[in-house]
């Protein structure tokens, strides 16, 4: 980004006496803060807790599945574990992850603002998130829930003997936090941009979070209504989903996926934003096809709303619905593919620097591509019939959501860590971790594609012995993956105390956030920046 008062603060070693972390370091100062940067930290700490909780459940699942008979956990505990894992990972980690942490920290800075449009609403959304989280956690730990994260009726509404309503209430509550965050992003992008920062000059990270905000605001209320109906059905037997009372059991699936499919884009669009920033910076090239990238973001956000039925190809919805949803699903795959092309082309004739964030971004590119291509398998109707609800699906969504979204989240965390903390981390260890993640991830989830085609259904606590070998591989991989996730926790924490001080712009990157100090002062900039050129003015 070309900036009027010229950037000569690259690589300036300097002690900044005052910054957003140094002043008012009290419990009150943190819990009542309206500074978007501190709120980003509140979220980061909370979602990290949930991530490792979900991770422990995942490890128990993988331990159980090392052997074919269900001999480690009882069926009941196993079912509660995959439900806990899914519920925590989706609703309390993945959905808030990038928007609530990096997005909260960076959106105002990237548009050159002092804060979000509604700082108090921002804090409120963290409190709502926490209340929802505590609710679900209490339900899940005290009574357990065995419906899976999808809460399908009539199992959830009439048959399960577990704390369904309490768990769903937590998810219901956390939805409001999502809506408020989305609203804040949209209004901030519309009203808080620095002079000269036109829509055509916005960084792709801002575009991606803007589109995500739109999905959050439009889709989340449907989820809330769906869960409310499910709760009413369970509590009062109103008969919306109960066929014995004239209800429709499939209606729940339609409503649920009407939210939850766009929710996948809530997870992946911000990840795409992160990766665009990183690849441009470390290739030292402007993003190839900026306009195409923005158009794809818009296309994904809009068309993501009309493909929910691809979760229901074998459900008994009409054949023609199946055909129509398959068609739209193929169409929505095109913009994602265009983005992959553009990221790769961004590297062409650049000066590629294999820093840790870049390695994460390239991992993303590989894993996301495999996730996307296997999505094409699932969009092909006849193949989906065979693959639906097998481990192929488990592998597919892990490639997208974990291989894609979580890897990008870690990449972004490494990229902006110096800005957020004012410290550098160990280059060696960060590269080791990125590598362990890539290898561990593929070892965990690739065998699951094979399991799926050979017919192994998901959510099985015991299975035919023939599938054992592939499960053992997958569990081994999970061990490596666990190390890959624990390492960053260790060296990033270490950097907070011992890491060398970070300059304002350690990567020599463009973007208004790099104009601020590391760490930034309380209101980000001493002087409102002016923007005179497009983003990514590398070389």
């Amino acid at each position: 980004m070309t900036v009027a008062s010229h950037p000569e603060n690259h690589h300036r070693e300097h002690d900044y006496p005052e910054h957003y972390l140094s002043s008012n370091w009290t419990l009150r100062g943190w819990l009542l803060t309206v500074d978007h940067k501190r709120i980003a930290w509140l979220y980061t700490v909370s979602i990290t807790g949930f991530f490792f909780l979900g991770g422990i459940a995942a490890l128990l699942i993988r331990l159980e599945l090392i052997t074919a008979p269900g001999d480690l956990l009882s069926a009941k505990v196993y079912n509660e574990m995959f439900s806990l894992h899914g519920i925590v990972m989706v609703w309390f980690f993945l959905i808030p992850s990038i928007p609530a942490t990096l997005g909260n920290f960076l959106m105002p800075m990237m548009v050159g603002a002092k804060d979000m449009a509604f700082p108090k609403l921002n804090l409120l959304s963290w409190y709502i998130y926490t209340v929802g989280g505590i609710f679900t956690l209490a339900a899940v730990l005290a009574g357990g829930v065995d419906t899976g994260w999808t809460f399908y009726t009539p199992y959830s509404s009439l048959f399960s003997n577990t704390s369904v309503i309490a768990a769903a209430t937590g998810v219901f509550v956390v939805g409001f936090s999502s809506i408020l965050t989305g609203l804040n992003f949209m209004v901030t992008t519309h009203t808080m941009r620095a002079p000269g920062l036109t829509w055509k000059r916005l960084p792709l990270f801002v575009w991606a979070n803007y589109a995500t905000g739109l999905i959050m605001v439009l889709a989340t209320p449907v989820l809330s209504v769906t869960l409310l109906l499910m709760g009413l059905e369970r509590g009062l037997g109103i008969g919306i989903f109960d066929p014995a009372l004239g209800g429709d059991p499939l209606l729940f699936q339609h409503l649920f996926w009407f939210y939850s499919h766009p929710a996948v884009y809530i997870m992946i669009l911000p990840a795409m934003g992160v990766v665009s920033e990183i690849i441009a910076c470390f290739s030292r090239n402007p993003v190839f096809g900026y306009k195409g990238m923005v158009l794809s973001i818009a296309a994904i956000a809009l068309f993501g709303f009309v493909v929910w039925g691809h979760h229901m190809f074998v459900s008994g919805q009409s054949l023609y619905s199946g055909i129509l949803f398959s068609f739209f699903t193929f169409l929505v795959a095109v913009p994602s593919a265009v983005k992959t092309l553009n990221w790769t082309a961004t590297m062409f004739r650049g000066r590629i620097w294999f820093s840790a964030p870049m390695i994460y971004a390239l991992s993303f590119l590989g894993l996301f591509t495999i996730g996307g291509l296997t999505g094409v398998f699932l969009a092909s109707l006849a193949l989906d019939v065979h693959l639906h609800d097998t481990y192929f699906v488990t592998a597919h969504f892990h490639y997208i959501m974990v291989g894609g979204a979580v890897t990008a989240y870690l990449g972004g965390l490494h990229f902006w860590w110096p800005k957020m903390t004012g410290r550098m981390y160990s280059e060696l260890w960060s590269k080791v971790a990125a590598l362990a993640l890539f290898i561990g991830f593929n070892l965990t989830f690739y065998p699951q594609f094979l399991l799926g085609y050979s017919g192994m259904p998901r959510r099985y606590h015991a299975y035919p012995e023939a599938f054992e070998f592939l499960h053992v591989l997958s569990s081994l991989g999970a061990g490596v993956l666990a190390i890959g996730y624990l390492l960053p926790l260790a060296y990033l924490a270490w950097s907070l105390w011992k890491g060398p001080r970070a300059p304002a712009n350690p990567w020599d990157a463009y973007g208004l956030e790099w104009r601020a100090n590391s760490p930034p002062i309380e209101h980000n900039f001493t002087e409102t920046p002016r923007v005179t050129g497009g983003p990514y003015a590398y070389d």
Partner: protein, 332 residues
Amino acid sequence: MSEQSIVDPDIGLQLIPTEASDYATQVDHLYFGLLGLSALLVAILVGLIVVFGFRYRRSRKGPRKPRFSDRVGHRIEIGFAAGLTLLFLGLFYWGGHLYMHLYDDQQSDITVNIVGKQWMWKVQHPDGTREINTLHVPVGESVKLRLTSQDVIHSFSIPALRLKRDAVPGLYTTAHFVATKTGEYRLFCAEYCGNEHSKMRGRIVVLSQADYQEWLTRHGEGPSPAVAGRQLFQSHGCTGCHQDSAQTPAPALDGLYGRTVPLDNGSTIVADEAYIRDSILQPQKHVVAGFQPIMPSFSGQLSESEIFELIAYIKSLQPGEWNQDRASGAPQ
């Protein structure tokens, strides 16, 4: 269900499950096609990343040639998107065509009723023979599965046939296949259905046609669904309104199946299985024109298998069949 109800066939790990039908072979072709295509695309992507990463690494000094112009860039993007869209349209057609064939309503030699229940599959053959967690079928004949569930959603999955279909309470779903290879194959429930979900599995046994007939006579017990349905029709007192009385307060049911029925609200409906089922369980949903909505609901009094049998009976009634039984030519 206890551990013993699992009747897994012992067939080992098959990365490509046995192709036990022509359909399975066709699905595998699509799979191999996509696998090849994906391998190619991943190879190109990884190749480009490696080549770019090496040729344009930061430590290699010297100036870089400029990238292509915006115009060329746009052309690349548009060409890529257009090419991909065409390719996807082809794949869409390929997968959709096979899917229509699998689920479309069509004639079949044998119709098997399947009811899912926590946690077992209850199977009933056309001659009334029943079995649990096992499905015997003859080779070379077209088989239609008619599925429903009596509690939660289950999903009937036979990897060797590349077939899967949800069993949904209150709904009939169907699927077709012609098995081409005798043998034993796996049967799973694929939709999470509660505590013992992972034990809701069994096998499908494809027999030669002679062996199938022999198997039926060996296990054949009880009346066929239509005959059982006739008994249910009488024992539940359906005859009282629909058949016996001179002033029948209810429509006659002979020849009903497949007919277009005029409704009270002015619309019409085709009397298919779902309509008959609804009429038994939710009689107020579609009231036939000219009749009072007085029929009671039999919901909760009939099991899913019994409803299947009643439907089979009603389907078996030929037009005019009841006329001979009537005391006099009743109205309508």
